[in-house]
Symmetry: C2
Subunit: 219 residues, 2 copies
DNA sequence: TACTCTCAGCGTACTTAGTACTCTATGGAG
DNA sequence: CTCCATAGAGTACTAAGTACGCTGAGAGTA
C-alpha cells in the first residue's frame, strides 16, 4: 500500500495523493486503507521513510572517504529530485526521527570519523554536506527547467533585461555548450569536500600544512 | 489580505491556512476573497513573494563581498526558519520566477562579479551559496529542537544506542556547552565562502598562489 | 439631482477529501 | 464444525475550495 501511494505521488504529485486515489489504485474502497494506517499523516510518514530507503549510505570501511561521501551526496540529490514531492513532505514531518535517519547518520558520521574527524567535527561536516545536497535538490526541483536544451519563455527573457548581471550570467551559461546544471552539483560538492578535508587537517595535531587561513576553533 | 494570510501561516501553520480562516481573520465572508485572488494557489504564490521580501539583498557596491554575501545568507536562513511553512511552499511553486527572485539573483550575481568572478563562476557560486542556506534551513526546521538547552526524549536516546558514531557525536556535542546549532551555520558558511574565494583566485590570471589542488576548469 | 457603472462583499450550494462507526465475509486454529 | 481475527465494505458527517449570481455603496456624468 505504501508502494501504491509512492507510485501515485511520483506519477501525479502530492495533490493527487488522496486516500481515495490510493484505494482506487489498489482496487479497494477508501475506508479499507484505515485497516493499515491510522491516518493519512502516518501514510505520509511512511512515504518519507520509503524515500530514504532509496538513498545509498557511505561505507565507513572503505578507505576513500571522499568517494563514499560523494556517492552518498549524489544519491541524496538524485533521490530527492526523483521524488520531488518528498522535499515538501520532509519539511512538515518534524516528529522524532525515524529508523532510517539513524542509519544514515550513523553511516555518514562513521565515515567521517574513520577519516580522522573528531566527533565534534564530524557533526559539523555532516550538517554542511547534507545542507548542500538538500539545498541543491530544492533549487533543482524549483527551477523551471534544468534540461541542457533549456526552454525559456519570452516574458522571462523580457523581464530579465533590466538586470544586467543576470543577463551576463545567463548569457555566459547559455554560451557554454557543455553547461549542465546537474554537473554543477559536483563542482559544489568538491568545494564542500575540500573544505571538510581542510577542517580535518587543521584539526589533526601532526601534519600542519601551510595555510593562508587562520585555523578556526573547531571545538 | 496577503498580510492576514501571512500572519495566519506564521501563527498556525500551512494546514490552518484556509480561505475560510483568512476570511474570518479579515472579518469577511470566504467568497469575498476571490475578488482579490483567482484561487488559493495564487494566494500561496503571493505568500512566497511576501516571504522573499523579508530577505536582505547584498550590496554589490560595498567592497567586502564576503561580508555582503554572508549577511544575505544569514538573512535567507533566518527568514526561512522564521516562516517554516515557506520551505514546503517553495517546493511546490515551480512556475516562472517572480520579480523578487530576479532582484535577489541580480544583487548576488552583481556582488560576485564585482568581487572578480566571471559570470560563469558567479553562477556556480550563487548556486552553492543558496544550496547551503536553503539546505541548512530545511535541516533546522526539520530538527526536533535546536535550542541550546535541547530536550531529548528517552526513546530517542534508547533508539540511538545501537549506533556508536551517533552516540559519540551526540555525546561530544552535548558535552560542548558552547554548542549552538545556529552557530554551526556560520562555520559552514565560512567553508563555502572560502571555497568561493579560492575559485575566484584560481580563475584570476594574475595572482596564482600555491595550491595543493589541481585548478579545476571553471568554464 | 438622478442615473448608471464599478467593484467589494454576500449567500447558496456543489464537489472533493478525510475519516468515524458499524457491519460482513473469509480463512485458519482448535 | 465452530469461532475468532482480520480485511474490506457501506454509510454518512465535516471541512474546505470555489462556481454563480445578487446587492449595495460610492464615483463620475448628464
Amino acid at each position: 500500500m505504501v508502494e501504491a501511494a509512492f507510485e501515485l505521488a511520483d506519477a501525479d504529485g502530492l495533490d493527487a495523493l488522496t486516500i481515495r486515489a490510493v484505494a482506487a489504485r489498489l482496487g479497494v474502497k477508501p475506508m479499507s486503507l484505515y485497516r493499515h494506517v491510522a491516518h493519512k499523516d502516518a501514510l505520509l510518514d511512511a512515504l518519507v521513510e520509503r524515500m530514504y530507503a532509496e538513498v545509498e549510505t557511505p561505507d565507513p570501511q572503505r578507505p576513500d572517504w571522499r568517494a563514499e561521501l560523494r556517492r552518498r551526496a549524489h544519491s541524496v540529490r538524485e533521490v530527492l529530485v526523483r521524488h520531488p514531492w518528498s522535499i515538501a513532505l520532509i519539511e512538515t514531518r518534524t516528529g522524532p526521527d525515524r529508523p532510517f535517519t539513524f542509519v544514515h547518520a550513523e553511516a555518514v558520521l562513521a565515515t567521517l570519523i574513520s577519516a580522522g574527524c573528531s566527533p565534534r567535527l564530524a557533526s559539523r561536516a555532516f550538517v554542511v554536506l547534507d545542507s548542500y545536497a538538500y539545498g541543491f535538490a530544492v533549487q533543482q526541483v524549483t527551477m523551471p527547467s534544468t534540461e541542457p536544451g533549456e526552454v525559456v519563455t519570452d516574458e522571462f527573457v523580457a523581464a530579465m533585461q533590466q538586470y544586467p548581471s543576470l543577463v551576463a550570467v545567463m548569457g555566459a551559461v547559455m554560451a557554454d555548450a557543455s553547461y549542465d546544471f546537474v554537473a554543477e552539483f559536483d563542482a559544489g560538492l568538491d568545494l564542500v569536500l575540500d573544505g571538510i578535508d581542510r577542517w580535518r587537517e587543521a584539526q589533526l595535531p601532526a601534519v600542519t600544512v601551510g595555510r593562508k587561513q587562520e585555523p578556526r576553533d573547531l571545538g
